[in-house]
Point group: C2
Chain length 333, copies 2
Amino acid sequence: MIQTPYLLFLGDAPDMLAAKVAIGIRDWRPENALGQFRLPGCGADLGLADMTLAEAREAGAKTLVIGVANRGGVISQEWKKVLVAALEEGFDLASGLHNLLRDEPDLVAVAEATGRALHDVRVPEVAYPIANGVKRSGKRCLAVGTDCSVGKMYTAMAMEREMQARGMAATFRATGQTGILITGDGVPLDAVVADFMAGSIEWLTPDNTAEHWDLIEGQGSLFHVSYSGVTLALIHGGQPDALILCHEPTRAHMRGLPGYPLPGLERLRDTALPLARVANPDCRVVGISVNTQAMAEQEARDYLAGLEQRMALPATDPYRFGAGKLAEALATL
Amino acid sequence: MIQTPYLLFLGDAPDMLAAKVAIGIRDWRPENALGQFRLPGCGADLGLADMTLAEAREAGAKTLVIGVANRGGVISQEWKKVLVAALEEGFDLASGLHNLLRDEPDLVAVAEATGRALHDVRVPEVAYPIANGVKRSGKRCLAVGTDCSVGKMYTAMAMEREMQARGMAATFRATGQTGILITGDGVPLDAVVADFMAGSIEWLTPDNTAEHWDLIEGQGSLFHVSYSGVTLALIHGGQPDALILCHEPTRAHMRGLPGYPLPGLERLRDTALPLARVANPDCRVVGISVNTQAMAEQEARDYLAGLEQRMALPATDPYRFGAGKLAEALATL
């Protein structure tokens, strides 16, 4: 569990694209984003207060989060100076970089000397159990996609916000690096050892009150041959009561797999639902979330209306048109 | 890759049940099983020559394989004496024990001093790639089960032997500890990190000659919520041309999951085949392998005959009645 709130380290990010993680934190957990720390030449700006380390500590920040991708996979000397100073100032560090904080001997030494924590969210920090399949109390919703990177995390985040605004009890449960950094907790599922995948999701979504919804971040796709096993572990470990189908309608082939066509939404429904019912016989498909960014607005509205008629399910683009329909669908369960 | 042939270490195994791995090696790779090494009080006997370490080296043995489970999860001092002496004598060591050889400082020190290898087959020794889904040459067969532990490894082993006896090119590909120790090579799939599961199976079953069959050892079940993700990674990484359905008809519930009923063979077929066709549109279900050990012989024969009629597929118990029907089914593809 990463201590919040955060100071967001943008380093020398050339542009906003490189600051994707920091943007996610600002957008989805603004209460965690106290300020930003930028190096000379930084081309990204979150519109947050620029703070020195001392100012951010004074304001209550607990962790310096590396909210930016590094160049060439190396933590540069310019970055190191700030990271070491942050540890000395009393910050923990959190990172989703491929090259781990714990593999940098100087950071490890200073963290030990100062009693601070280094969080590499790509690496599991918990010994997860093997899944036992026992039915848990409370309700769970999982977004499943026709492909990877079709908006599953965004959908769950938007649903959490919408449901909380309506007074529903809802918690986003992160299963990837970005989600973990945004919320401060979760399971880095793609880095979990095979035997413990489903168990890690049982651990992530424990017993809860009857009306509470866990909104589990989806990963991969049952139709993506590189990652489908991760997806099925999520479906069986999560024992969802509700599935949301996610789709990006303009993609020519599965992400990174030329020659692999995307399935249709009907095929996703007919594949995912029977598998989900192995773990939860009451599971239902309750809605559709479409990433319509490649469509003009009227085209997107027409597409969604057509989908609703074709599949007899509420359909929305939660980024463009809000997650209200999906929250309503869960409220009826 | 573990060097063969082996001297099989039975230690102080109380009975034959504890020597399951050694029995598997003797039965499926008799050419690898030069002899056995037993401690006083050993209650297991493979019917192989009892050899001293020196005698086994003289006969050509390269690796001492721990073919037995240890008591209490600890490598005892009695075992240690033999293992250290074996390293000194020039043997590599191979083990599928939970407590790793590499976690025993004395074994590590002696192995380094003598230049010998310690093989813990529970732990991957290869940096597997992420699966790329590219179609590979040669043919592949995968056994999928209604549950875990229904005879998938045995089925693939029996098919390999039968096919080779008929002059067909066939290679068993191990995906679990026992299979790896038997054959000396393979992927310990349950210990592979999630993102690399399917890629490890692509690595295990590379391009081959057009008529060659890889017989991939199955793991878990699409219907077993603890391990289903592993099974789907096998299906998508293996891109099988042929599926064999495996079943144990007398089981009351899924292994280790009270309250989870077993699916029928039709449901297994209708779930596994569409998923397999994502990676290989030409995949077919070609036969059924049943573990009939809980049935009398005539009952078993009647059951198999009934299955053949019901499902229009060849059905056999390869242990009891041979794998001929399954080999014939592959020969027609």
